[in-house]
Amino acid sequence: MKRLQRRSLATFWTVLFFFYVPILVLVVNSFNASKFGGAWKGFTFKWYEKLFADHAIWQAMENTFAIALGATLASVVLGTLAALAISRWKGKIQSLHYGLLYTHLVLPDILMGISLLLFFISVGLDLSLFTVFLAHTTFCVSYVAMAVLGRLENFDGSLLEAASDLGATPWQTFWKVQFPLLLPGIAAGGLLAFTLSIDDFVITFFVNGAGSETLPVKIYGMIKRSRDLPKINALSTLMMCVTVLAVVASRMMQGLGTRQQQRDARAAASAASPASRQEGQGGRVRR
């Protein structure tokens, strides 16, 4: 028993080690005065200072966030509409639609990157921020659609009928009933899209043009020059913080609905017994 416990504990530490030590090394080195990172030569904010002074990096950062925001907004709208269409009309066309969306989730990035590049060239679109935006929207739509579809699966259709029964036009029904109830799914999908867009390298690498580099692509270029390495550490640390925050927020939002339901169900259960007693009394009094 004890040996088993010790062994599982060892596994646990090994997994943690391989998962997080590389990240830890990166974070520590971003504060390391040594240029090459091998040994600890004292704490410094120097690399962060250099990072903030590097104009090209800030340009890339700006590009990254502009693309991420744009792609998120576009894919939230398109992805939600796609999910609504798939869940409402269960025909051959919609199952094909679902298949196409799903393919994006499993398609290798490199394939998507190459095919998008070939497509942009063939239609005569110059590589720019716009092509990066299009490419990111393309793969983000699938993630948003899947997140919203998950929410729609448990959606009670009679709520929509109830809304229209009470006088809501289809438009009002969507905004007053369906949208608020789908919002956690939409938000979770949007945050997922945002994080995916921010750290996408492979696809962006193919479709970005002059001046439209995003951070991951920029970092890749910087790795070749060793004097930039500590700056990359500092940058990566910052990016990691943003990504982790976004993911945590996404998880919280996704869980919000279900946890609220659980809490309410518990409250209802505890309220149920006195409530039914009350109802029974009402009957006796009237008689």
């Binding site: 709520l159 009928e161 006088g167 109830l181 339901q261 209802a268 309220a271 029974g280 009957g283």
Partner: protein, 413 residues
Amino acid sequence: MADFLQFQGVTKRFGPLTAVNHVTFGVQKGEFFSLLGPSGCGKTTLLRMLAGFDRPDEGKILLDGKDITGLPPDKRQVNTVFQNYALFPHLSIRDNIAFGLRLRRLPRAEIDERVDEMLGLVQLRGHASKKPTQLSGGQKQRVAIARALVLKPQVLLLDEPLAALDLKLRQHMQIELDEIHDRVGITFVYVTHDQGEAMGLADRIAVMRNGVVEQIDPPARIYESPRTSFVAAFIGDTNFFEGTVSRIVDHDYCDVDVEDLGTVRCWNDKHIRAGAKVYLSVRPEKLHLTHERPVDLHDGKVNVFPVTVYQKVYQGAWTRFWVRHGENADDCWELSVLQVHSRYLLDTTPISWDDKVWLSWHADDGYMLENYDERDETLLNHPTEPAVPDAPAATVAENAASAAQEVLDGSGR
């Protein structure tokens, strides 16, 4: 005066299935009208067409003289109470009830006033700020009713509103629904498969089967004068006789020759002529069993036949007997009889298994059906014969008990 709500030749098909088949009837203003039938009879489809969720393939629906057949749900002054409540989970009880009023852009003060009035009507004053998930089933049901009623619809539709509640609460809500209907005076159309609810609540019942309305009448007429074998067998329990009219007696009565039984005198309200083939329905509680042959004090209007008791189930308020007329068990009349014991202990020798007794009923209690379908006999509560003579008696008793329980649920109200 034309009916407030009219269905005119309404038909609805789902693929090869005809869910509602040329249904025509009217509902009066302020009426509590019930659509009753087994699942799949088309009652819910009819309701959904009235609400506007489905469109009829043929026919028209008129409300207050206006054709509403093609109107979308939000353009009809008709509101629905859904079976699963369909309360908006993201809104509070107050916001749920105010939902329709806010869409109509009424002044805030008026909305608050009307919502408060409804909260009072359904006795949920203290729960206005709660979310639907914090309420019990009965409370949710009352919110659903308030949410629909607050819009003062011309017709309130209720789709099996009590089906999801437990028995006690169902009985309580039934009384409450009745009171609400009395207070608001709105036309109610109530869909149910529970004959007890329909009989207890409705002013008139439309009994449906296979997309067709079989009979529309007040509950008592549905029970006492069923037009078809389905209505007779679906509501309560009954006995069927098949025979030929042999003689007309006094204009109002006739003699019916029933094979292997004899001549049965019957009330002939439909003035059927001699020679016609007819089917009779006689309710179990209208039949009487006695040790002595009853004296006919009604100049020939009492039918009397010797029978043998082959099954008996004591049910407290009454005893249910199954009796046989005829010697051969495979080819005889098997009838179900309900005896209420008003003076059980004072009764002479109680009737028991294998007793040879007299079965009698008054000619007025036999009712001639207009339409008969052999398959409806399966709806009757007859104990299944044990296949092997010494099969466990419990099985028979259980069947009979459950059969009796159904009657208790249905006609005992």
